[in-house]
């Protein structure tokens, strides 16, 4: 499923002049995301004065915060040239195992541990299939997406598993006026943004995504790094699943159903290049807020959930086309 590039190789070529600095800074996908975000905020505030209330936006964000956290890690996975479509299913299965364990009388901290370890194991399965066995991640994670959610269905059946009263409602706990899941998202954004932008680990993620063969030749341990990313993906998905359980108060096998679309959408809207090597945490961060405002705006405007689904689908396709267009303009 590769892109078919024109294989004309131009060998004898002088150095081309570089692009002006302002272009480098302005013409990039994150700018598009930021402009869209401002437009969306403006439009939404016309629609409903609620949107001028920051607290309202924050509360709305808690509904998507779990997906947004996973989308941050997914951004790194896509930059490294892979993809993971299984995190939403991972969230469901981890949450089911966690809920099942605590219902069986296992103390809460251990139950949470079980959920997180399950997430790690799921990440490891993806990683082994993709990295050790060299099967494309896109098809592997379609398989594991079905498998993980299927196992969740086996465990939970059609029933809801309840969690104890005191555990419910992490999204209503405020710190400095900000809901806890949003704080977690903010902290993750800053940490992962720093990791990707300023550390050698982050640098090597870009290099692997740009040209993995060259990266390996330069001594970069690409397999180890990608393994780490898939494991992180599993761990964060599991944590997101448990947070979702707390928000919803119960766990069903269809927790987070279809979430992979929203996560991929956040990464794509933020300007992550689907073929790897480009993208930023900042972009995904902005895109998450954009998406929340768009979907909350649609809810306020009484748009049917079905229509919202359509809008998300269209947004996904349009954002990839726009990102590709921007990158093909800036790369020669």
């Amino acid at each position: 499923m590769s892109a078919i590039e024109n294989p004309v190789v131009v060998s004898a070529r002088e150095a081309a002049p570089p692009r002006p600095l302002w272009q480098v800074i302005v013409i990039r996908p994150e700018t598009m995301t930021l402009v869209l975000l401002i437009l969306a905020l403006f439009g939404a505030s016309l629609l409903s004065p609620y949107f001028l209330d920051f607290g309202y936006i924050l509360r709305s964000f808690t509904l998507s915060a779990e997906f947004a956290m996973v989308a941050l890690v997914l951004t790194m996975v896509i930059i490294a040239g892979e993809i993971d479509l299984s995190p939403a299913a991972n969230m469901a299965l981890s949450a089911c195992l966690f809920a099942f364990a605590q219902q069986a009388g296992i103390p809460m901290p251990i139950a949470i541990g079980i959920g997180l370890v399950a997430g790690l194991v799921m990440g490891a399965i993806n990683a082994i299939m993709v990295i050790r066995l060299q099967i494309p991640s896109i098809i592997v994670t379609i398989g594991t997406l079905t498998l993980y959610r299927g196992i969740a269905q086996v465990i939970a059946g059609d029933k809801s598993i309840r969690v104890p009263e005191w555990f419910i409602g992490v999204n209503n706990v405020l710190m400095a006026g900000i809901p806890v899941p949003v704080i977690i998202f903010l902290v993750m954004s800053i940490v992962l943004g720093l990791v990707l932008g300023t550390t050698i680990f982050g640098r090597q993620i870009y290099q692997i995504g740009t040209n993995e063969v060259a990266a390996r030749h330069a001594g970069i341990r690409s397999q180890r790094i990608k393994m780490g990313l898939f494991l992180l993906m599993g761990l964060v998905s599991a944590a997101a699943g448990i947070l979702t359980a707390s928000r919803l108060g119960s766990v069903r096998y269809d927790l987070g159903l279809g979430g992979e679309l929203q996560m991929v959408l956040m990464a794509m809207l933020g300007g992550t290049y689907i073929f790897g090597g480009r993208g930023t945490i900042l972009g995904t961060f902005l895109a998450a807020w954009l998406l929340v405002i768009v979907s909350t705006g649609m809810t306020v405007a009484n748009v049917l959930p079905a229509v919202q689904l359509v809008v998300l689908g269209v947004l996904l396709v349009v954002s990839i086309i726009a990102t590709n267009a921007i990158y093909s303009r800036t790369q020669r």
């Binding site: 590769s2 098809i139 196992i151 679309l261 689907i274 079905a306 269209v314 396709v317």
Partner: protein
Amino acid sequence: MNLLRNIFLRREAGIAVMIVLFCIAVGAVKPQFLTLDSLRIILLLTPLIMIGAMGQMLVIVARHVDLSIGSMLGFSAMVTGMMFKFYPEIWWPVGFLVSIGIGAALGLLNGVLVTLFRLPAIIVTLGTLNLYRGLTYIVSNAKQIDRQFVPSALKSMSQTSPIFGIPWIIFISFGIGLLTYGFVMHTRVGRQIFALGSNPIAAPLRGIAVNKVTLLVFTISGALSGLAGILYASRWGFVNPSNTGSGFEFQVIAAVVIGGVSINGGVGTVLGTVLGVLLLGCVAAALPLLGIPGTTQSAIYGAVILIALLIDRTVRQQGIASLSRARA
């Protein structure tokens, strides 16, 4: 000679052996599994998957994948169902044209997005999977088309039989299989699909219109999903905006991949795909008999996809190894 072909033969033989072993194993526990009646049940479980698998096979052979088939099935079934409901005076076989036509249009849109904007099919069809499903809710106003609106002649296609007590719908699905066989083995464009999947860089150098062929495979995949859509209405007698076709893509991809169609493109046979579909049918039919709850189906499909990927990889490596040994 014919080393690679032998491997495929073995591959298909392998699936056939798996089917037989599976049936014997289940039959040993539940003897009623080995009756003609349960054969009928198995066959009745498969026609939609079979039709969808033929389209998906072509898409995967061309090095793409189509995740939106379930939503295309749902949308075309819904529009056709609404036609039956609101224009009952229209002669019911027209529904086939409507359903197939709508599916083809949706598939064409997938193809346009993939070729025109050079986007990976998996992301495009993940988007349209949700897009088409949303459209299904919108056109139907989230309401189901109930039994009384589906023409009884259409429904009876799944019950009445021209011969041997095998319903029409099964003949249709095998007919599609035969047509696909003729298409891929005996038409120029059919071979071009395999050439394209086998070496996409070289394909244009040999005069293969890559974009047109890609559009064609996605359109066929859509059209066959449309056909599966109206047959869904025939088989189950209703069309539901959320259930109809949901999860169809995973069943179909599982069947295709286990049938030996390589995700690396260029490799796949109709026979293998048919056997893959039948194996899935056997599993699905055996579950209730063995008292395994239906909720395990999804997990089993997932496991089947992964196992098939592992087999695919092993077979490919052995194939390459045996060929290079043979060169020396």
